[in-house]
Amino acid sequence: MNNRSAQVTPAGPTVILARQLAKSFGDVAAVVDVSLEVGAGEVLAVLGPNGAGKSTTIHMLTTVLEPESGEASILGFDVQRQPDVVRQLIGVAGQGSAVDEQLTGRENLALFARLYKLPRSRAKQRTEELVAQLDLGSFVDRLVGTYSGGQRRRLDLAAALVAEPPALFLDEPTTGLDPASRADLWEAVTALAASGTAIVLTTQYLEEADRLADRVMIVDQGRVVAQGTPESLKQELRSDVLAIRMCDDAGAQAAEMLMRAAGHLVGRADGPVVQVPVNDDPGLALTLLALLQKENLPVADFQLRRPTLDDVFLEITSGPVSSPSPTSSLPQVANPPSFGIDVEEVA
């Protein structure tokens, strides 16, 4: 488990750099301590549940929000002291409705080209390149209001790329997309990284991080709780999960206490469901079910499944690094795993 806190440095020359960023809104600490470094040609996936601080981090890196403390720079230009230079070096796409619905795709790209101060001839040429590169040809002359979700995201990405930025920020670029559109976008992102763009992308999908990222950073409650290559993280998180549905909440509570008393890491899901990571030991599943039967606790249903992001968080955030968040239904664990101490000390 040591690779979780390993110092990981970017592959190419550093493009995006952040040190100990923090930001709160009133009493709510959105980002507590986030540091990151992304090199040219590298993709960093920032993974985390809703409200983890992913978007706030992106907003600080892209000059939309001022950090409360800490610092960030793009190619050495400070986001707070030289925002006007930084804005010439970044492209941003994601959740927001940045493209105008009452304009066509081509008009939207023309608007961005003008705002990025591209010369007229270059703007035309660049638009054609983007239409070809992101395969916008079949819809680029229609009003954006008529687009599907996938078409809109592709146009949004094209708009972010108008000025060929060395740093690209994608805030949940595929949330809500169908699998085919998602695959198209992944392909585009991979090609951009190969051409030398430094990319930070936030996502809620483990699969997306796995597929695209050179490095993954897991953020929870405004802190980096784990960081590493997808391989190293998956290695830790490959554990299958046994999910047992009890007949009622009282049953689930009794089962939870029983298993915890027996020394297992156990969590609750929605409804009367208890979940236990069973590692590589399917026999453990049988043991646990037998335990319930012995105590006469009736089981409604059970399944053994691949880990989801929730399970990742069950495992990673159950240590002393962060207390259970009210939104992620994480369990209090009697015997927290020993890896908790040093995971904060990431690069």
């Binding site: 020359p13 040609g41 590298e42 804005r87 050179d214």
Partner: protein, 276 residues
């Protein structure tokens, strides 16, 4: 980790330390870009323009045919001739509402967050909108005038007509920045809509748009005579009739300069302030 050899370069035209001249030139260019976007939107969805014209026509018909008899007879004037210039001013104020509403929408739906990540003048986002509204106002004023002409209204002179439309547009532009300041400070479309009514209705009704100041109670007369909408209504009335009244024209221009002087910086400050 990665096997490719990454290459990147700074963008060719990277501006690191622009002089004040370049800043202004770029701000003007950005204003033009935002204006272009806004006018394209209007051409796709002209409902706000239609609304402004319908409102103007509605006021014309209502006041002329319902109240015209009593107000006109009391003041001893031809009421349509009295009313039309005032309605032009009211129509030009619709632009302020538009600036206000569309800016509030931009600030809430993420569009202004996106603009904030672009290397552009942030004030240009607002400036472009106000200019677009001024141009829409000109179109709206011409259409309302057509309705007035159908109802029997005639200008005193052609140049007077042009000057009347120009002055109404100018004062409308000043109020656009009041609308922008409210939107930038409040940032909630519903609240912004309501706040617009707060300043518009008292200024509109306690003015010389619909009735001469002399017909109102004495304690109200100073306010009614000198407030910006009255000044504009009187000035436009003089120009339209071919008998320009220098005092009210100067007062109108003065009010406009004051509105711009106060609300352009306030808007810029409120808009630039990042949300918390």
């Amino acid at each position: 980790m990665t096997t490719h050899s990454p290459t990147f370069r700074l963008p060719a035209g990277l501006v690191i330390d622009p002089g004040p001249g370049l800043v202004v030139r770029r701000a003007l260019r950005d204003t033009g870009s935002v204006l272009w976007r806004d006018l394209l939107r209007t051409s796709r969805q002209p409902d706000t323009l239609v609304f402004a014209v319908v409102m103007g026509a509605f006021f014309l018909l209502l006041f002329n045919y319902v109240f015209g008899g009593s107000i006109g007879a009391g003041a001893g004037v031809d009421y349509l001739e009295f009313l039309v210039p005032g309605i032009l001013v009211i129509t030009a104020l619709q632009g302020a509402q538009q600036t206000s509403m569309s800016l509030a929408a931009d600030l809430t739906d993420g569009a202004s967050d996106r603009f904030r990540t672009l290397p552009m003048s942030q004030v240009a986002v607002v400036a472009g909108k106000t200019v677009a509204d001024a141009l829409r106002n000109v179109a709206g004023l011409v259409l309302v005038l057509l309705v007035a002409v159908v109802m029997g209204y005639r200008f005193g002179s052609g140049t007077g007509a042009i000057a009347a439309v120009a002055l109404a547009t100018l004062v409308g532009y000043g109020f656009s920045w009041l609308g922008a300041a409210i939107a930038a400070a409040v940032r909630k479309p519903d609240t912004v809509g309501m706040l617009s009514m707060f300043w518009l209705f008292p200024l509109m009704l306690a003015s010389t748009v619909f009735a001469p100041a002399a017909s109102m109670p004495g304690w109200l007369t100073p306010f009614t005579t000198y407030q910006p909408i009255s000044a504009a209504a009187d000035a436009v009335r003089g120009l339209a009739a071919g008998t320009p009244d220098l005092g009210s024209i100067v007062l109108t221009i003065g009010w406009t300069v004051l509105l711009l002087g106060v609300f352009v910086p306030l808007t810029a400050r409120a808009y630039r302030k990042v949300r918390t």
